[in-house]
Amino acid sequence: MRENLFAAKNISVIKKAFREYYFNQSKAIEEPLKMEQREFGFAHFGQAGMLRHLSFKSMKELDAMLVREAPSDVYCSNAYYRIPTQQPMQEKQWLGADLIFDIDGKDLGMPCVPSHSYSVCINCGYGSPPEKHKERSSYSCPSCGCKKADYVSIPCSKCIDGSKKEARRLVDFLLGDIGLEHSAIHVYFSGNNGFHVHINDDAFISLDPQARSDLVGYLSGTGLMLESIGLRKTNTEDLFSIKLPKSGLAFGWRRRIAERLKIDMASAIKLKNIVNQNGGYNAFKVELDRLARDMGVRIDPQVTTDVHRVFRMPGTLNSKSGLSKTKSSDLNSFDPFVDACLLGDGKVSVKVKTPVKLKLKRNSFNVSKESAEMPTYAAVYLMCKGLAEAN
């Protein structure tokens, strides 16, 4: 949490909105399986760091705490522990951890991002509108001359579609390759700019970090060897031979690559030509690597491989936006700016730092004046982004 952005006044407005949410919408918060074996963590407005190693016996207990404290962020371990409150980690006695995936819109390299990234001076908090062509290294605060800014993005529909595409692809992999049941895959909007996928399948909870890392490699298309599609290097020169795999090209990554290269089991010669057109074995290796990553899913490897992580809890609010981490049962129709925008609509008066455009709960806001009255959900969104201050 960027403390400086949260002047006391902002904090009190946002906290009030969060508290109201936790009071009215406690049903939106999902009870985690085996709650008593989970570790919980909280962040508080205006305070650095996170409080971890907490435990709650029931949702009632948790709900009460949420209303009382109105934390900025709420986390729950994907891990199960015998004693979740123990420290250090080893003493908790790890029993397993749900398999989780994190798709973060900001890692997708969407070309539209500069057009909706606002810069906020890290020194004085001055906000400037998006500048498409300006280098970030040349930033200089118009107000105080500071050379460093935070960039806050108000994701556009293209960004959200980009994350959805990754989420769909992940689900396809998990169903078709990994063999998971539909009912075991739960997709959530992260509450800001991405998706979290939680797997509810007991077979996976005992996997260690290494096994998870191997799985991540598979899903993200890293480490595919040319040998997998039948290419073998013959000697130290750039020479190679082709022997298409006996077991065929019909499944998994072999199928994906074969489709992309338009080859089949009768294409040995064609494959040879493709390799040569790419500039030989070594050059083709680079190309195959690029292809595989391109066809893989962009997930954050660290989130999946860390089995001691606390992860944003479904149904709780994200302090980067005031939106909630919300389940999406149908990605096509899911609109985070409607379905995850759950704060109240009482009017709040804010000072907006720079002209902004946004659309929440199907209402468009095009704020150009300095002071504006707007519904709580929109005011909180802008304050969380650091683009507005409470009046």
């Binding site: 063999g179 970090p209 890392s213 191997d214 006996k246 019909a250 998994g252 491989t305």
Partner: protein
Amino acid sequence: MAGSDLAKYPFLNEAGAYLRESNFGWEELDRPDMKHIIDRAAERIEIEVNGKIYDNLERYEIEILTFLISLVIVKSISIEQVLRKFALAEARRAEKFLTEDLRKQSEIKRRSVFTKIFEDLFKLRILISEDQRLFKVRVIDYLARASHFNEQEWKLINRLVHNGYVYLDADETVRLIRNELAVLIYDKVRAMTLPTLPQGIKSRADELRLKFLPRYERRASAAVTDYPPCIKHALEVMNKGDNLPHSARVMLATYMLAIGKPVDEIVSMFENAPDFNEKITRYQVEHLAGMKGSHTKYSVPSCDKLRNENLCFATAECDTLINPIQFGRKKK
């Protein structure tokens, strides 16, 4: 279960049952005709501790006894490294027979042996692929095992994966359980309580102990609990006798040098590597220590670099680390 199976897989519980049924007793080991078996057992241990496989097969009655006596001798030698090497070689021996047997998959009756070994012993279900040419195991079962192998070809992405299954040939299927076989044998020895040994065995065990002792004496292994996860992992791989990629060896050696471990001790950490060569390893470690060649001392690779090389297995305690060397030093 056929007798010939017990000869190849004497670690199966059925072998113990056979001994019980035949009313075998320790006293019998002092009988003169047992000398042949004790010799075989001693030979088996020596060959295996030297990294080779003893694949000489005799009648199952003899094999079962030889195996049992080797366990007793290894227990009595009581040198950790000897036990580890023996367990690993025994696993490789079984692996070899299993692979041969599994290739002859047409013999339906053999299936029961595999189910016994794979499913009863290691909870690994193997199925025959739709076209009968391959075996298949569940992705989850594959990951739990193969992710600890370091060769790139074992990475899930380089496997044929479909609908929740990984397709494997006979060799690959058996390779999956090598470590578990080794652990099984390791545990068998660990769990044994020795009776007063007949003289014939006792003296062979003492002989072997004297022979092995100088090799392993100074290699008391340090407790690994305080190492960062990346290092712990590398040590685990090493100790299992699996291959560790070069980058991981560099990480391990530079780390150990950085925390002040003597070169000797570091060299001995690598002795379980399948391609271990004391001289070469010593040269490499000394090189990294700046004692050889360029005289530059190599530093421990950063966490970033290790992450890129897939050598990082960060846990929560790694939170703010930049270099593994900081692990455990930072105040929480």
